[in-house]
Amino acid sequence: MNDLLSIEDLRTVFRTPAGEVSAVAGVSLSVPRGKTLGIVGESGCGKSVLSLSTMRLVPPPGRVAAGRIMFDGQDLLTLPDAEMRALRGRRIAMIFQEPMTSLNPVFTVGDQIVEAMRAHDRDASDLVLKARAIAALNRVRIPAPERRFDEYPHQMSGGMRQRVMIAMALSCEPDLLIADEPTTALDVTVQAQILDLLRDLQQQTGMAIILITHDLGVVAEMADEVAVMYAGRVVERASAKAIFDDPQHPYTLGLLGSIPKLDEEHDRLLAIEGAVPPPFALPTGCRFHPRCVFADAACKATDPSLRRIGDAHQVACLRAPVETIVDAVA
């Protein structure tokens, strides 16, 4: 296998007043080297908890309860804390939706990048690190990086702050970048710039990317592989082309039907009725059945697991492909 990361049956739980609930409920995924895996799903599906689990950064009262996270041949879940800390930042880095909350407002962005670099390179001199930080800012196409080095986060626009975060994340040339909704808070032209930047940097460095987003347009543009998540599970896995050309899960169909298209005139968008159930109020059987237009009695009773439906295409649905459904009563 040439997968850089392979997550096997991961379960992440939170202790709540109502008992222990699984925010990630048995997820298996893999990310090939140098490729981009897009993870899509509505808010509350467990995308962020999954990515924090991969970094071993799940905040209490949450914890990874089961599974394996194989990264380049070693299981991150059994790694000693010190080794995991060394790996974080150096080999796996992460960026988030709101860069302001991950930057410290009282230090200049330059100092913060230098600090991040120093954590992995204790011997380098201040001058060397400063030069490297400016080069990093330059690489993420921040204009006048020497001047920006001395600015505070609040003096920058959202797009510039996200570039700083990317510069910081990539300063140690990680093998894997986890980007959790990196452009959701940004304007569309800034989003386009950031996506272009990530694509170029991937080409230069060969890093793999896990890109979490709820925007299927972003997925189409960036991802090689896609995992669709619903209520803590992966419900469909396929290449990006297959997700759009041969979508199998009714949830995937609903997501696709919800996108307003630029050059199609629809009277109504398809939408998906209802909302994602929280982990403490899951329905019986298939977690999607209460919102599914194809659900029948079997879907209420049986919780489907992922099954192979095509070459490198998996779906967790009893009724897929939906065109084969013959209803008893029409």
């Binding site: 509505e42 032209t189 347009g217 189409a220 039907g257 398809l270 939906v322």
Partner: protein
């Protein structure tokens, strides 16, 4: 309700401006400059029509919305609503006018009082405007809930018990309580997931068809706008740079900024090669906008004229399509790429999905 005007015009905004003085310094505060949040905006809205205001954050959309509703006072200009300039109204006249224009906000979480039941939230505007007695108001609340796809028992619940999409439905019901003619929607779906966004967009369209509402629809997502609007106005740094019928603006965008916005949208088609021209850098600060055409610093076609003279909105044809660009006649034609036809398997399944949805009872998100 007053008699509709013959030309069907509901709202006309003329030379509207809002300038804010910005102070710096904590001890010796001094005026550092002026933010021209809205700087000479003009548009018209017909009864039953949707005009979309689009543009990136900070371009003045929300300020325009607040000026139209007279929640803030303009620095200059007029807002004509059915032939009366509401910027000159006061007291009871203003109150009567307010009843006819309502607003739906972006953030359904922040805009609903967490300590009030949904029933009380929906009844409040009726009380404020002295409409009905307790009985008729309770009936109206029930009717409003039905109108937005919620159930009567929801009246007893509190906002935190609802999902984001449902809260936005409550926000819409509250806006509709007093039977307005104009609803200003300030990014009503921007904070919602696409699936939920689609429910709310569908609802807004249904309500417009049923109630004959006019919408001033503010958004930054051009694909949503394409779906909702009859006409579109594109704003950049406090000014409208292009306005016109939706089809014209989308098919033959005349302003380089509109073209930039359109090409920046990620398209849901993995077969498409991404090739676009996004100008580098950020939108300049509205405190110090570039002289001449505000967009010239990011425009590939800028000339000396653009650096010195501010372009006025000029008609591009007879359809009401206007652009504020010195050079729109000579810009290269845009090829607005069409999305590839859907693959057969996807098209077939989406059609089945649509058929099932049409069959099933409509329930609320």
């Amino acid at each position: 309700m007053s008699t509709p005007r013959k030309d069907g015009l509901l709202l006309e905004v003329v030379d509207l401006a809002k300038h804010y003085k910005v102070n710096t310094g904590l001890v010796f505060s001094r005026t550092a400059g002026t933010v021209k949040a809205v700087d000479g905006v003009a548009f018209q809205l017909k009864r039953g029509e949707t005009l979309a205001l689009v543009g990136e954050s900070g371009c003045g959309k929300s300020t325009t919305a607040r000026l139209v509703l007279r929640l803030i006072e303009p620095s200059a200009g007029q807002v004509w609503f059915e032939g009366r300039d509401i910027t000159t109204l006061g007291g009871s006249e203003l109150r009567a006018m307010r009843r006819r224009m309502q607003i739906v906000f972006q953030d359904p979480f922040a805009s609903l009082n967490p300590r009030m039941t949904v029933g009380a939230i929906l009844e409040e505007p009726l009380k404020v405007h002295g409409i009905g007695d307790a009985d008729t108001r309770a009936k109206r609340v029930e009717e409003l809930l039905g109108l937005v796809g919620l159930a009567p028992y929801h009246a007893k619940r509190y906002p935190h018990e609802f999902s984001g999409g449902q809260r936005q439905r409550i926000g819409i019901a509250r806006a509709l309580a007093v039977e307005p003619d104009l609803v200003v929607c300030d990014e009503p779906v921007s904070a919602l997931d696409v699936s939920i966004q689609a429910q709310v967009v569908n609802l807004l369209k249904d309500l417009q068809a049923r109630l004959g509402l006019s919408y001033l629809f503010i958004a930054h997502d051009l694909a949503v706008v394409k779906h909702m609007a009859d006409r579109v106005a594109v704003m950049y740094l406090g000014r409208i740079v292009e306005i016109g019928p939706k089809d014209a603006v989308f098919a033959t965008p005349r302003h380089p900024y509109t073209r930039t916005l359109l090409s920046a949208i990620p398209r849901p088609d993995p077969h498409r090669e991404t090739a676009r021209q996004i100008p580098g850098g950020d939108v300049p600060s509205p405190m110090n906008p570039p002289p001449g055409c505000h967009f010239h610093t990011r425009c590939a076609f800028a000339s000396e004229l653009c650096r010195t003279q501010s372009p006025a909105l000029r008609p591009t044809d007879a359809s009401g399509h206007m652009a504020a660009c010195h050079h729109f006649e000579t810009l290269p034609d845009v090829v607005v790429e069409r999305d590839r036809a859907q693959a057969p398997a996807a098209a077939k399944r989406l059609a089945l999905y649509a058929e099932r949805r049409a069959r099933g009872p409509a329930s609320a998100g």
